[in-house]
């Protein structure tokens, strides 16, 4: 469990993704709409690059001083009457959450969307002690009803499902008998979940950003489920990844403004809620008890390394929405709850290189992700860095590749060898060349020509070098 989803191997998952026509059409359509909306929504901000620079500066400063800001946050949460639990591992976090729930004798838990609780497999932990955990984000609820189908996108978790499939799930699991019109489906979810909300004993949320200066946590939704989960239950547990923190409300403004735009192309989501401790004296609604669980789960291993900038991530999924690889293979191909470019960077770090060895290579390094990232994570560079670590430190590179690269480097830094190679290659390829193209090449060229032709190699008079030399000698 944890971040891993499914048991299939990488290329099996990819093949499944490529053959899923509905998913691919949905993803391509979503990418185009999201990109359009994102561009439209950032246009009112003026100089977007300035905003990115500011956001990067904020994230870098906060990470460099993370212990200080977490300490400040803790002091303020406690001052407000809340509890803070620091969880080094997923197990620590789940044990604490289970103990809070058990003390309350709570059976019905309502939950608003949270990636970090997915990451620590919190639902399963709570279910193991007999609790019913109800996802209230519409997309997450659909997946939960559909026998825990894993999410395929950070922001739109059920992007891979069509409305007919959703209608079937609703009717099979909840006796729904109306149409597949999204309006009717959503209304059914509203009515069903409203009852659950009113009976919820504990509300569990993630945390978009905690604010150190006031001990607040902020939650961003369009549906309003995070508000319900923090308005009605008597106990609130908020689980946050330790890096999701800003110094003050002034920085919160910047990151929320950029998150909403980058994630869904909105200037702000319908609801942005700042919660500060349990309810105050005289308040009627809101939790009586507030617990903040701060999760490490592998993050401190990233801190202080060349991958630290990955922790700048605000989980907006903008990189996913522009990624051409994600576009064709879909979220499940990444084998993790974190898909797309940020997933390819994070998974080998939060998981390991054995499990996710293909992901750093599942990128053409087109840098669309780096270009779009609101907090300026150099995503494609981090993917190259993963490759370097696998080659140089982990010893994971195939022997033949190592040999080839050593040979290449020798040739490319020794002109005589390089020239000999470029002169010999055409005659090696000669027999395979037909009408100026090679369609069924030998050795390393074989894979290339599996799907496309290769232009013939130039030789003799056709070579640039020959032409240029002759020219020097007065020829043309």
């Amino acid at each position: 469990m944890g971040i891993k989803i499914g048991e299939e191997k990488f290329f099996e998952r990819v093949e499944k993704g490529i053959n899923n026509d509905f998913m691919r059409k949905a993803v391509a359509g979503a990418q185009e709409r999201m990109q359009g909306r994102r561009l439209d929504s950032i246009s009112t901000l003026g100089n977007w690059e300035e905003w990115r620079n500011l956001a990067e500066e904020i994230r870098q400063h906060t990470l460099e001083n993370l212990d200080f800001y977490l300490e400040q946050l803790t002091e303020n949460v406690i001052k407000n009457g809340g509890n803070v639990f620091f969880a080094e591992t997923a197990e620590d976090a789940n044990d604490y959450i289970k103990s809070v729930v058990s003390k309350k004798n709570a059976k019905k838990i309502i939950k608003s969307k949270s990636m970090v609780t997915e990451e620590i497999s919190m639902n399963q932990a709570l279910e193991s002690i007999g609790c019913e955990v109800i996802e209230t984000d519409l997309g997450e609820w659909i997946l939960q009803l559909d026998d825990h189908d894993p999410p395929s996108h950070i922001v739109v978790p059920a992007l891979h499902k069509n409305k007919e499939q959703i209608r079937e799930t609703f009717s099979e699991k909840r006796g729904y008998n109306k149409s597949s019109d999204p309006k009717e489906l959503a209304l059914f979810a509203r009515e069903t979940l409203r009852k659950d909300f009113l009976e919820g004993e504990v509300g569990i949320t993630g945390c978009n950003f905690a604010v150190a200066e006031s001990g607040s946590i902020s939650l961003v939704t369009n549906e309003g489920n995070a508000r319900l989960a923090t308005t009605i239950p008597k106990t609130q547990i908020t689980v946050m990844g330790m890096e999701r923190i800003v110094p003050t409300w002034e920085e919160l403004d910047i990151l929320i403004s950029m998150l909403a735009r980058s994630a869904v192309g909105q200037k702000l989501t319908s609801y942005v809620t700042g919660l500060t401790g349990p309810k105050q004296k005289g308040d009627v609604d809101g939790p009586e008890e507030f617990h903040l669980v701060i999760v490490d789960n592998g993050r401190s291993k990233i801190l202080g390394t060349q991958f630290q900038s990955a922790l700048q991530c605000i989980r907006c999924a903008a990189c996913i929405n522009v990624c051409p690889v994600y576009r064709h293979v879909g979220g499940h191909s990444y084998g993790s709850i974190y898909p797309g470019p940020i997933g390819a960077v994070l998974n080998p770090l939060l998981g390991d290189y054995d499990e996710y060895k293909e992901l750093p290579y599942a990128s053409s390094l087109c840098a669309a992700c780096t270009d779009v990232c609101p907090v300026k994570i150099p995503l494609h560079n981090l993917l190259i860095e993963h490759r370097r670590v696998m080659v140089e430190n982990e010893g994971k590179a195939p022997f033949a590749e190592k040999l080839a690269m050593k040979g290449y480097a020798f040739a490319a830094s020794t002109p005589t060898v390089y020239n000999m190679g470029t002169k010999t290659a055409p005659s090696v390829m000669g027999p395979y060349t037909k009408n100026g193209f090679i369609s069924d090449g030998p050795g390393p060229v074989k894979l290339w020509t599996d799907i496309r032709d290769l232009p013939e190699l130039s030789k003799g008079k056709d070579k640039f070098r020959t032409w240029f030399e002759n020219r020097d000698k007065g020829g043309n």
């Binding site: 620079n53 509890n83 509203r190 409300w249």
Partner: protein, 239 residues
């Protein structure tokens, strides 16, 4: 488990400091003066009237009905909007501004008609308020700060200003004094930052931009999921 406790803090934070390759920092970190400040440029030169135009424009994009009125005509407009939203049952904040803006009479008149129900949030009756709000057709609040750029009303919770009023009823009305309109979230954040420096901030601050919605099913936008299905802003020319 006592309330107001931190567990495992020191080992956890020591570990972070170790990863960062330095001693733990408990004091002395100053928030730097950020090199870039683009947030103050947005709508910088707009006057209150122009901000109002921007707000109205944005409402069109967030499925929110927007009405403008002079103070004198406010009761009439509120009555009209209540009728448009189907009347029946209303829950409102307990907020002196309703009296100031002469809306109490409209509410009384409404409450006295047919089977209508009108409830003012009453801390004395505790959770009964939530049940009433859950059954109500309309929730009404004032806006404490209003953000022109995003079409957002900012609500500070308090004893009489329950969170449920803007959340549980089927529809929502926000009364927006023109004087509360600022360019964007930046100005609200600055104010909350100052409140925080001066002491405690409200336990719940909601930034609401239109009705609840979702695009989780095939990216089709559906308005009204867990929160209100419709939202109406009534902007009052108070300055």
């Amino acid at each position: 488990m006592t309330i107001g406790t931190a567990y495992n803090k020191d080992t956890f934070l020591d570990n972070i400091a170790k990863s960062l390759g330095r001693e733990r920092k408990t004091i002395g970190v100053e928030r730097p003066k950020w090199k870039h400040r683009p947030q103050y440029e947005v709508f910088k030169d707009l006057g209150q009237d122009e901000l109002l135009d921007e707000l109205e424009d944005q409402c069109g994009r967030i499925h929110t009905v927007c009405k403008r009125t002079q103070l004198t005509n406010l009761p009439h407009i509120v009555k009209e909007v209540i009728e448009e939203l189907g009347g029946k049952s209303i829950v409102s904040w307990k907020d002196p501004r309703f009296e100031e803006y002469q809306l109490v009479e409209v509410f009384n008149e409404f409450a006295n008609m047919d089977d209508n129900k009108f409830h003012v949030w009453d801390p004395e009756i505790g959770e009964e308020n939530i049940k009433i709000a859950e059954r109500a057709n309309i929730g009404i609040t004032f806006s404490d700060i209003t953000l022109a750029e995003s079409g957002t009303v900012v609500l500070f919770s308090e004893k009489g200003k329950g969170r449920s009023v803007s959340l549980l009823p089927a529809t929502y009305i926000a009364i927006i004094p023109k004087s509360t309109i600022v360019p964007r979230m930046t100005q609200a954040a600055t104010k909350i930052h100052q409140m925080s420096q001066a002491g405690r901030i409200p336990s719940c601050i909601n930034f609401i931009s239109g009705p609840s919605n979702s695009a989780d099913i095939e990216l089709n936008l559906v308005v009204g999921v867990h929160g209100p299905i419709k939202a109406t802003y009534i902007i009052v020319e108070d300055i």
